[in-house]
């Protein structure tokens, strides 16, 4: 086996290993095709192009209503767990922005870094609606009520994955907050904090995309099921 062919095999193997649960089967499909491609260079091109599957994470497939029921149950349990955590743990994510808001308010009051603190405060203000929605206690249906649990799951997915005004306020707010913070520090190791926030925002956007895909899967499954009943 040539070096080029070996490299192609290795790349395809890595893609299979690190593919998301929903893309695993597809990564295996790309890998299995390699042996049917006669030219080594074409095989390398095929494997290299397949790396893109890694950057397109997919949630695990939902094939039957039973899969959907299990997923809805899991979601309900997670939400109940969040409720049982109590007020302090549920609202802990509000404390960090609150501390930053108070600090910025004090800075503005004493006339220090007025521009950067105003931008930061504006950003925090835009974050507020999404943070409030995320910390609200959900009304989770009973464990035996399968239809109710699925409805609850779909409603929550629709709410958190829609490109609503709250979502865009959150994105703009987070960017303003990062920009305001950068304006204040200019240079130095504190830039790491902005980078971490940026990373957090990117993770949030990736999760948002994942939720949209899951909702599309659920809707497609529900459509097919209703078609087969009608």
């Amino acid at each position: 086996m040539s070096f080029v062919r070996k490299t192609a095999d290795r790349i395809a193997g890595l893609v299979v290993r690190y593919a998301s649960p929903g893309s695993k089967e597809w990564a295996q499909a790309i890998e299995s095709e390699l042996l049917y491609i006669e030219s080594d260079w074409r095989a390398l091109g095929w494997a290299l192009s397949g790396v893109r599957v890694l950057f397109d994470p997919q949630p695990a497939p939902l094939r039957t209503m039973a899969d959907l029921d299990v997923e809805a149950q899991k979601h309900a349990e997670r939400r109940l767990h969040a409720v049982n955590n109590g007020w302090l743990v549920t609202n802990v994510r509000l404390f960090v922005p609150l501390v930053f808001a108070l600090e910025s308010l004090v800075d503005v009051a004493i006339g220090r870094h007025i521009l950067s603190n105003t931008v930061l405060l504006l950003g925090l203000l835009l974050l507020a609606p999404m943070l409030y929605l995320r910390t609200r206690e959900p009304n989770v249906p009973d464990r035996d009520d399968n239809a109710g649990l699925v409805r609850f799951y779909v409603d929550e997915l629709s709410a958190i994955s829609s490109n609503s005004l709250t979502f865009w306020m959150f994105v703009v707010g987070a960017l303003l907050m990062i920009f305001g913070f950068e304006l204040e520090i200019r240079f130095g190791w504190e830039s790491v904090i902005s980078l971490l926030w940026l990373l957090g925002l990117l993770l949030f956007l990736a999760k948002h995309r994942q939720n949209r895909r899951r909702l599309a899967q659920v809707e497609a499954l529900l459509d097919t099921t209703s078609d087969s009943f009608s």
């Binding site: 597809w26 095929w46 895909r213």
Partner: protein, 101 residues
Amino acid sequence: MQLRRTPQTVQVLREFLDAPLEWRHGYDLSRSSGLKSGTLYPILIRLTENHLLETRWEASENGKPPRHMYRLTQAGKRFARECVAEVRNIAIGEPVFGNPS
């Protein structure tokens, strides 16, 4: 149905419509459509998620690994014909050098 009708998606659907009853494999589709694996497979994933495509693994006899095969479902065939016709209508209706006035 949340499926973007990109030119590449329509291209893949057109390939399937050429032989709607046949099971096709990825490399074959890639060669006939000119799409690379990184473009082709995300499209196949989305089509399958929307239940427009059915998939199966076909065992090979000569010791090679099984191949992932694809075929349009009934809904897929309807959707593919719709998409291809839509693109054809747009192409016929659109003047090449802007609106005649």
